[in-house]
């Protein structure tokens, strides 16, 4: 393609310019033409694998033919149900806590505090670190004998549990990491949201004697709803896609106490060499994600004011 401007005079050389040819299309057609590259990538990397997964999920483990056994098995597969329950708990706790913490941090860092830039960078840092590196670092924190956390607890004479080895503690331990990482990330969005609110609103509130907390609750919080909706959907899908920590730190153990859906899919597909069942689980997870996102948008859309 040449990058000659559209208004360039016709040249002697008869070069076929697809952009100019496409200009003869009706407007809608031209729009689709411009979207073509995106469509191609979407088809190659999203639609085709999706169709592939749908087909694979209806195949038996050995041989050909059509079967729904993979889906039927889901209801009875203990590990799947365990991973589903774990993931449900994981999302239920990390999403609201991350968002709440992110909002709190954003409100604090929105004010004129000393070293604001440094603090903002510090809070945001976890979001840009590679997850695997983060997992390795936290393993040293959680290590039962020489780990940072237990060293401190031990020095204070407090019990020193095996954070990643105790089935009751391993999932909460991963949740803490998730919140730490996600809160910093979403803080940035809330910060942008807060900066988009006219400071005159705060002054108008102050003139009426509105307390800071009330102003936040009645004005800032509702005006941040679009940010919250966006962040909630991203946080939810993040929490369901979480695999790095599990892979590096616990391998789903002990006794599947920290097994999450994506890790289980990975295990079924590549450790048990059973891609058909893995495809079925994946599709169910996707369906659940889509359904949740739709419900979220519907629920919040009613209460959101878009300017």
């Amino acid at each position: 393609m040449t990058d000659a401007p559209a208004v360039a005079p016709p040249t002697e050389r008869s070069s076929w310019n697809p952009l100019r040819a496409a200009r003869k299309l009706p407007d809608a057609g031209f729009a689709y033409f411009l979207l073509l590259p995106a469509f191609i990538f979407l088809a190659l990397f999203t639609v085709k694998p999706l169709i592939g997964s749908i087909i694979a999920s209806t195949q038996p483990r050995r041989g050909d033919g059509f079967t729904l056994d993979n889906y039927a098995r889901l209801a009875t597969d203990d590990v799947f149900l365990k991973a589903l329950g774990n993931n449900f708990l994981f999302s239920l706790i990390t999403v609201p806590v991350s968002l709440g913490l992110a909002m709190l941090l954003a409100v604090l860092l929105h004010q004129n505090v000393r070293g604001r830039g440094f603090l903002r960078a510090g809070v945001f840092a976890p979001a840009i670190l590679p997850m695997v590196a983060v997992a390795v670092i936290w393993m040293y924190f959680y290590q039962p004998n020489i780990g940072v956390i237990n060293s401190i607890l031990g020095a204070l004479g407090l019990p020193t549990p095996d954070w990643l080895g105790d089935p009751g503690l391993v999932l909460p331990s991963l949740m803490v990491m998730m919140v730490w990482k996600e809160a910093g990330f979403f803080m940035l969005f809330y910060l942008a949201g807060l900066q988009g609110i006219d400071p005159e609103l705060e002054e108008a509130s102050r003139l009426e004697g509105t307390g800071k907390f009330r102003h936040f609750w009645k004005v800032s919080f509702p005006l941040l709803m679009p940010t919250t909706l966006f962040a909630a959907i991203v946080a939810l899908s993040d929490s369901i896609k979480m695999v790095d920590f599990v892979f590096v730190m616990t391998q789903g153990g002990p006794d599947n106490a920290s097994n999450l859906l994506l890790f289980y899919i990975y295990k079924v597909a590549f450790a048990q060499h059973w891609p058909q069942f893995a495809a079925a689980i994946s599709l169910v997870v996707v369906a659940v994600l889509v359904a949740l996102a739709l419900i979220q948008i519907r629920l919040m859309d009613r209460k959101i004011h878009y300017r």
Partner: protein, 408 residues
């Protein structure tokens, strides 16, 4: 009785490089109960800061602020008994018009019945009844402006502060809102402190104008006085559209020296008494100058046509200009300045010309139909000649004239 009294308020900010900027120097004025006072000045003159200090959004470094006789320096905004209209209205976009208006009443825990009553009253005053359920985003600029006014009024405050409330409206709406705000203020007997950079707003609405410049108060007076008797050259150069021409001149015996032009001015000096400083600023409004044909004072300025302009289209001076010029020249109550036309622009009904006098420029405003001579005797009645000292730019008052001189 919400009268406002400011006494020598000062305020400085720390700049980005740690240096102090003083934005208010010793600002003081009063706004009487029921008065409409406008703070007028260019951007950065400290007018908004002054208003924010009165509102309690900013604190002064020193000085006193009394509202209704009470020192409110340490009183939070909400207890100062005032309402405020912000420049961008500051309406809550997620709340309806009604909720916006009663927001403050809810905060103050006013009962529901009274809230509704006051809401309806405010809506009636501002003709907002049909819009109470709408969101600010669904309103026009003028309607939003009225909602902001409603929110300021509903609390029952009789003192209303306004920070350039009309600056976001288009010109026609601005003219309508000027009348509307003034009318509302009169009808409800409000005390208004109004900040603007638009002299038309200040002149048309206010009972009292406070002109500010670089953190100082330049003049406090009624709008008419501001135009007729500017207290210093800064105000003179600011008020009027176009503003007064202020040029440098020297007193030499009985004449004024502008550049190398000697202008006889015995009558002018007589008006001001004889203790005039040698270096003065001469101020004349463009509309107070009459361009007339006249012999230039120096022979070398003569064009071949002996005083008649060389350009043919200006050979016939229009609308009896010559006779007026003769009158002016012979009239002892006038100052006559020889000028050469530099440029002119059409302003619609009027024409604005720039004449050079000596090494200085004077603007002259005439009807659009008049023709302007290239060389002219610019006449101005002595009543309309303003003198300022050059050292500190303050107005030199005319001496009290003896009765005999007045009669002549």
């Amino acid at each position: 009785m919400p009268e406002v009294l400011l006494r020598s308020l000062s305020k400085s900010f720390t700049g980005t490089r740690g240096d102090r900027h003083t934005v208010l120097h010793d600002v003081g004025f009063t706004v009487a109960d029921g008065e409409f006072a406008a703070i007028l000045g260019p951007s950065g003159c400290g007018k908004s800061t002054t208003l924010r200090i009165v509102a309690g959004l900013d604190r002064a470094d020193s000085g006193e602020l009394l509202i209704g006789g009470r020192d409110v320096g340490n009183v939070p905004s909400s207890e100062r008994g005032l309402g405020m209209v912000f420049q961008n209205y500051a309406l809550f976009p997620h709340l309806s018009v009604a909720e916006n208006i009663i927001f403050g009443l809810k905060v103050r825990r006013v009962g529901k019945a009274e809230r509704n009553e006051r809401l309806l009253e405010a809506a009636r005053q501002l003709q907002l009844e049909p819009y109470l359920d709408r969101r600010p985003g669904q309103l026009s600029g003028g309607q939003r402006q009225r909602v902001a006014l409603g929110r300021a009024l509903v609390g029952g405050s009789r003192l209303i502060l306004m920070d350039e409330p009309l600056s976001n409206l288009d010109a026609r709406l601005r003219a309508d809102m000027r009348t509307e705000i003034r009318e509302l203020q009169q009808r409800l007997g409000l005390t208004v402190l109004y900040v603007t950079h638009d002299q038309v707003e200040a002149m048309t609405m206010a009972d009292k104008v406070i002109v500010m410049r670089e953190g100082f108060v330049d003049q406090i007076s009624a709008p008419e006085n501001l135009y007729a008797r500017p207290e210093n050259a800064h105000v003179a150069r600011f008020i009027g559209a176009p503003p007064m021409s202020v040029i440098e001149a020297r007193r030499e015996g009985d004449a004024l020296l502008i550049g190398d032009q000697r202008i006889p001015a015995a009558h002018l000096f007589a008006r001001f008494g004889h203790d005039l400083p040698e270096e003065v600023l001469l101020g004349i409004r463009p509309e107070d100058l009459t361009p007339g044909l006249g012999a230039p004072s120096r022979p070398e300025d003569l064009t071949p046509g002996l005083g008649t302009p060389s350009r043919p289209e200006q050979l016939t001076p229009g609308l009896g200009a010559p006779s007026r010029a003769e009158n002016v020249a012979s009239d002892t109550g006038a100052l006559s300045l020889p000028g050469v036309l530099e440029r002119q622009e059409l302003l619609g009904a009027d024409r604005l010309a720039t004449y050079s006098v000596g090494d200085q420029n004077l603007r002259v405003r005439v009807r659009a139909a008049s023709t302007l001579p290239t060389i002219s005797q610019l006449g101005a009645s002595l009543d309309h000649v303003h003198l300022f000292t050059r050292a500190d730019q303050v107005r030199i008052p005319a001496a009290i004239r003896p009765v005999l001189a007045q009669a002549s």
